[in-house]
Symmetry: D2
Amino acid sequence: MSNTYGQSIRLSIFGESHGKAIGMVLDGVEPGVSIDMDQLEFQMKRRAPGGALATSRKEADQVEFVSGILNGKTCASPICGIIANTNTHSQDYANLAAWMRPSHADYPAYMKYHGFNDIRGGGHFSGRLTTPLVAAGEICNRALCNHMPLQAGSHIVKLGEYEEPLWSDILPDVLASHEKLAIPCQDPDRVASIIEKARMDMDSVGGIVETALWGVPVGLGDPFFDSMESRLSHILFSVPAVKGVMFGAGDGFASMKGSEANDPYYFDNEALVKTRTNHNGGILGGITTGMPIVFRTIIKPTASIGKKQMSVNLQTGQEEEGQIKGRHDPCIVLRAVPVLEAAAKIAVYDAFREGKF
Amino acid sequence: MSNTYGQSIRLSIFGESHGKAIGMVLDGVEPGVSIDMDQLEFQMKRRAPGGALATSRKEADQVEFVSGILNGKTCASPICGIIANTNTHSQDYANLAAWMRPSHADYPAYMKYHGFNDIRGGGHFSGRLTTPLVAAGEICNRALCNHMPLQAGSHIVKLGEYEEPLWSDILPDVLASHEKLAIPCQDPDRVASIIEKARMDMDSVGGIVETALWGVPVGLGDPFFDSMESRLSHILFSVPAVKGVMFGAGDGFASMKGSEANDPYYFDNEALVKTRTNHNGGILGGITTGMPIVFRTIIKPTASIGKKQMSVNLQTGQEEEGQIKGRHDPCIVLRAVPVLEAAAKIAVYDAFREGKF
Amino acid sequence: MSNTYGQSIRLSIFGESHGKAIGMVLDGVEPGVSIDMDQLEFQMKRRAPGGALATSRKEADQVEFVSGILNGKTCASPICGIIANTNTHSQDYANLAAWMRPSHADYPAYMKYHGFNDIRGGGHFSGRLTTPLVAAGEICNRALCNHMPLQAGSHIVKLGEYEEPLWSDILPDVLASHEKLAIPCQDPDRVASIIEKARMDMDSVGGIVETALWGVPVGLGDPFFDSMESRLSHILFSVPAVKGVMFGAGDGFASMKGSEANDPYYFDNEALVKTRTNHNGGILGGITTGMPIVFRTIIKPTASIGKKQMSVNLQTGQEEEGQIKGRHDPCIVLRAVPVLEAAAKIAVYDAFREGKF
Amino acid sequence: MSNTYGQSIRLSIFGESHGKAIGMVLDGVEPGVSIDMDQLEFQMKRRAPGGALATSRKEADQVEFVSGILNGKTCASPICGIIANTNTHSQDYANLAAWMRPSHADYPAYMKYHGFNDIRGGGHFSGRLTTPLVAAGEICNRALCNHMPLQAGSHIVKLGEYEEPLWSDILPDVLASHEKLAIPCQDPDRVASIIEKARMDMDSVGGIVETALWGVPVGLGDPFFDSMESRLSHILFSVPAVKGVMFGAGDGFASMKGSEANDPYYFDNEALVKTRTNHNGGILGGITTGMPIVFRTIIKPTASIGKKQMSVNLQTGQEEEGQIKGRHDPCIVLRAVPVLEAAAKIAVYDAFREGKF
């Protein structure tokens, strides 16, 4: 508890990886927002399993909206979207009831829930639970786009030994075009080969994604305790495997002087207030400045690897070598990208809906 | 909005830097918790201004509890603690109503609040608002210590060109002893000289702090959306100047393989389940594992610097050079340490109070 | 907004009367609670349409749990229960888009949602939305029964010209047996005839239901702002047609002296503290006393009546006579009874789960 | 827990009757709202003790605002108002630690808080805690009046054997003028004599107050679970001694037919939609209709009476006769009136601030 996110909107998600269905309930979206089902499907596909570099689990990931949408438009009541689980191999997990998979939630969940939780496919802890997040993010996106020229884009700044420079020099339209790329970075082949090598090694690899949102107006977010950074990090750290979030210059701040880090204000051609640099990632004092919101998300290597590992067996009370069968991604970073963007849009919409003074 | 934090406890803070008083209301603390006023004062002093390396503003920072504590013990009703503002030089800010200080909240706050917000000393955005956080953290600490052998410690891992290794090799008792140090790191003199140099240069410097909490039991926190990482980052990102939070190996994950990153479980001498490494910083699937909670917080250089800077004047509509008078710290990192520890204890207590199943 | 109820549990409901499905998501229920599907079905049937005295809409009202329940037991993740809408006559509502049905939500909803809300069958405002409340209440009931000897019972104290005395003289087992009665009161025939007469007159009738819960321990609820009365009334006033809630002696207090109203404490045979009377309905200072929780709920006459009525047509800008077709109950009181009991159990479980100090 | 009220504003209250101070923190009020300190003082005096018919405890009840107000206007940060406790006779309560005062919170509070709660003057359960509610209500009132022609008024419909007719026939300006009356009803002398008699008898008396708010626009509130009735009753049931809340026709609905109860819509002279009757008290489907919000609040007789009463002594384990010294009101109904109005305005402002779609 709690499965809800948001102050002015309320998003609840539910489901277990190998249960009947997963889904979400999203409340507080304005009435009359047109849902673009093609765009929704496009976003779902970005996250969906099944790419050459991903898990072999194939899911249609069709969202069925059972409420809240009438004639293609939001109708002011809570939107419930359901995604059936069709392709489950639960027997793969039969042997994992007692052997705690390293760096998975198995052990703390077992202790917290006294063994009653569904462990098949990771149950409620599965990365599959990010599917409804993507659906909710796209609805928030449609609602936001009625109010602002919102655009989002991400790129990989680190993945194993691969590195590329930060955002700041990339143009918005280049970034936004990344939505279409399976591997949003400057050298997709190199990244693909790193992931492929991890798969061949029965291993996995982590990475860092940088995401930006343009078009968010000045004034969203609050000082204590609902800074825009608090709101964004709260939902981002709900995404499985996320282990760090930093804004703007991020860890770069630690070796900067104030005179280097400060973003000087100026008036642009249209007399709008802008900053010449954006080291603060579009947020000051917890409030958006009108500059792009920029953040980096650290994603750990997939915990499920094919290699044999030692761990504890809670039934035998022994340490035992084990091997994870199931299907899993050698790198979750690529599939995380649309999830991070969706999560950010949800947080922005929640802040936006609180209304202006 | 909102000035409240917590699901099972509720912490509200209030005040402006140059108003009559700042303070907090903390609700949901168990009755009968003894408050150690000496320890409280000690924690307040760690954060207080006035050290050789800090702002010249001197404040007694005495907390007056006007409710919730009876005969030295919590009495189950909301605890209100008030800290008077005594040493305010508001005239220093008279000229700042229209000139937007770079990398401060001035501009977004002006736009959000239509100029009605109190700008003296940063108003509600001031780092001074972290004072009641420290008081609330110490109360949560006392409550937690009745249930678990909680210890907290922090050290500087980066500050300007200074760097030191991560936590993992430092013993708990060494870390806990850092509470007594004005500069909690291996080479305090070097750090002092970096800060002193920044002061002489009328500049400022940022840094990264690593914090650990031992003794937190397995089972706190939740998968969606209230992971222990979400809860911690939410409150940490409320602390002014915090621009990044990462757990365990943090950005190190990006260049690790799963086989390196995974923390293997074993049974210790007392047959307790532990992990040989703690790359996940004591949290898996959003739930504490019983291993130490470890996180790093990125703090940007103090935005207030003595150097002249260019910025916009909203009244004249011109870009103008300005200079920030007032009193300010050349480095906020040291004073942030007790705030980060307090914030973490508040988040842990909130998760703990939700009760076990 | 908001479609969520609860502090320590979170209940969300969704759906429109003539949409694909309605349902609920219930989070925070302890793991390992056995769900008695027969008992669930029994409760659903108590509320279901189709009795001789009720609307002619027939619905199976089968709840399909798509998450949160594994092998018949709660598994700690959010429980999503879905109920299909199968028997919808949406064409009955085609002519009601512009003519505002008197005492329905049509007009304020139209104004609030700019006409985008689903009006078929009342949409999200329909009494049908209480179906998932009954399902959630039964789950809370099962969870509570693991901790306390909970029993609930209700009776009609007023319905049109029918009246019967308050609770206080009725024995628990008699009350609890009311669960089995279609018309829980002392003279069911008389009540049936009043309702039947209303139907024949193309009219409707209101009433007052008194509900009691035994077995709730002392100590649930809080003074400000989450008194047990606040928690109960909050959810009860969400039930369509509820226009009043009073506890214990209720309006009787207005003509009582303190010396009559006060409930004197005594020690019972087992040295437990009880009160000789229970005018306060088991709640003092917002906290349960261990005596039965007793409250009365006022239910207005069904707004949908067959008689012709005058109202405004927002399209023509004229007042017009209209007639409501559709299917509707001449008296909602009977079907409300299981809903009120369910709502009360949800509120009690939420208070209970907050944990003892 | 929880001491907070509100979704879009957050009101926290704190304090014990005989502690240093009581007060409130109100967050989320728009910046730039002028606070009329005279009007605030006027409202505080309406509630203040010391009238001829009230407790002999005299308190200045001066609110000191330590934050959130700058130059007489709200400045967007949380407003903290503190009211000192100056006139406390704590020794009056020394003998009440173990003897449970009938119909007070003593016993459930003792059990819930293990005896750690402050019992002097009722501690946090005291009616004195409604003082900050009045202050918060007046601030919300000022904010609301910038947006709508809000007016509130109340009258006594029942008090002991006194009764007067419901609202519907009284004109707004008459009702609003009741603010100035110590005893807002048609026969103040009669009511005064009933209260005076109760005092002479060392007894107390309860009553029912009807309150109306004019000028609230259509569209505030929501269907599930935050109906305007839910929001209002939630805060009203936090006020000590409130045992019932009903809207519009209230218990009258139970003997009405739908054809009598339904409020027919019409277009008024300005083509605005109104209803000819207002049996629903200005709320349909949980949403305001634009008609006056009308509700009745049932207030039980003051539990503290001078007469000797039997109760349990938890220390001796015996039933003992006891007598309550202290100072108390023979009738709390009159002083409750401004509290109920304030509570209603807080609820309305919270709903209003959620913003229009």
